[in-house]
């Protein structure tokens, strides 16, 4: 559905933010885009939504370049940015002036979500907290029913119950026709929802794999004297968590944070293992 080919980007007079990024996103999945702060997650989201133009390469949604910002492309995507402001209008007015631009917009979904987020349609947006504004925008994005939904740090500014609300809502939202990309450095917040992980580091994609592959080939557990040597990666603390080749062990739950740290320190080892079994 969404294809990034040799995407390159740098801001004026600065080092490259993305060098030759190749990725492909399919409908029916929730993609987690991870990376340390300033590793180009937000830039990638902006490139995908056409808010920035790549210096080289191509980003295409359903075969159309997103750079041209055509109506056909823009109505297929919705971006919830990390940092934004919304105008001082009541929520329902805000919905009215935006919903008409999205052919599949569902007012029902929107007002259900507003209710679920404990907001009321006649609240004035400018008087809401940042977290509440984020909820309004997330509700609008979900109700717009676009095939592609991009969310940049959606849990920033949300309190713990709201994060849980968001997980519940996202769980109900995915279907086979939709693709959600969530960029975050708070790996834990949405880990139970993500089914494909992309990790950016040093302006490059250093990891891109469905979690089903990860749980098939890697085993997450505690390091002990007997298995220490076979660990691919382990936390430095005594008895810390570690990643091993799964081999014939029972499937274990993926610890995304551990995986993230492992990929950052041992990218080649992890990737080789994942790929070797793939082809073997």
């Amino acid at each position: 559905m969404l294809t990034l080919k040799q995407l390159q980007f740098h801001y004026p007079n600065s080092r490259p933010v993305l060098k030759s990024v190749n990725l492909s996103f399919k409908p029916g999945g929730i993609y987690g885009l991870f990376g340390k702060n300033g590793e180009g997650k937000s830039t990638l989201m902006k490139l995908v939504s056409g808010l920035l133009n790549p210096k080289m390469g191509l980003c295409s949604l359903k075969g159309r370049s997103t750079q041209s910002r055509s109506v056909a492309t823009l109505r297929d995507l919705f971006l919830v940015p990390e940092d934004f402001e919304l105008p001082g209008l009541p929520i329902q007015t805000y919905e009215k002036v935006h919903s008409s631009f999205y052919p599949n917009f569902s007012k029902e979904t929107f007002y259900n979500l507003i209710e679920e987020f404990r907001l009321s349609p006649n609240q004035v947006i400018s008087r809401l907290s940042f977290g509440q504004k984020k909820k309004v925008l997330i509700a609008l994005g979900l109700a717009a029913n676009t095939p592609l939904l991009l969310m940049d740090e959606p849990t920033n500014g949300l309190d713990i119950p709201s994060k849980s609300q968001l997980r519940r809502i996202l769980a109900s939202y995915v279907d086979d026709g939709k693709c959600i990309i969530i960029a975050t450095h708070q790996v834990r917040d949405l880990h139970s929802l993500i089914d494909h992980v992309v990790i950016l580091d040093n302006a490059q994609v250093i990891f891109d794999s469905p979690l089903s592959d990860v749980s098939e080939k890697l085993w997450f557990g505690k390091a002990s004297k007997e298995n220490e040597a076979s660990a691919l990666f382990s936390e430095s603390t005594f008895g810390g968590k570690a990643i091993f080749p799964r081999e014939d062990r029972d499937e274990s739950e993926i610890d995304l944070e551990l995986l993230f740290n492992a990929v950052l320190t041992e990218p080649t080892q992890i990737n080789t293992l994942l790929n070797s079994i793939n082809h073997g």
Binding site: V71, L79, P81, F84, L89
Partner: protein, 250 residues
Amino acid sequence: MGKEFDISRIVQFIKRDLTLQKNTITIGLLVGSIVLFLLYLFNMVWDKRLSADEFLGSFSLCYFPLGIFYVYTMLREFQNPKFNHSYLSLPVSNLERITAKWLNGALLYTLVFSLIGIIVGILAMMVGIVVFGAEMHVTAFFSENYWKVVKLFLLIQPTFMVGALTFSKNRVGKTLMVLGLLFIGFLLFNFIGFGILNHDFGVFSGESSGSEAFDRASQDFSVLGRWFYGLIFGPLMLVVAYFKMVEKEV
């Protein structure tokens, strides 16, 4: 589906702009009306009547600044990094955007403000009659001069659109400066162009004074130049504004 130019979407887009800027627009029009009202009254104090020229003069004095202010209000969202994600990612094509902004900022504004000009004018006259016994004087509002004023506005409005789309800080000041420089440049260009093309007038002969040549130059400008700039300059600036929109990034 798939249409990149759709009238109903343009209407939606204008509606959105009007809704988002509702407060600013209301205050702007209110202030404009009050100032206009005072100007009308002021013009009636001396001769107890409001002539067509006075009427139009007061109108222009509000029409232009307010129109320029409106252009910047409308395009504020475009430059604000906290807002422009939702503006830029809205499913509206660039051609629709520029059309909507122009229809709104040039035509709709002129229509609305002309109406306000007339209504406030009638009000001012009524007050004038009551307060200091001004004579009832029906002025033809849509005089030839009115159309000239509107034409001039339509001519320079796109320039301010370009200004609003180009500069992110001190937008009005910078646009005025550039416009001033452009104006001097054009004048010089016309002057030289005229001098070369119309050697017979002896612009460079030294006999006639500079001011006379200047007069002649501007006279010529008024015939050929007005056609040239009147027809080309406005649309040209609209085209520039369009490309400014196309290349905009957050």
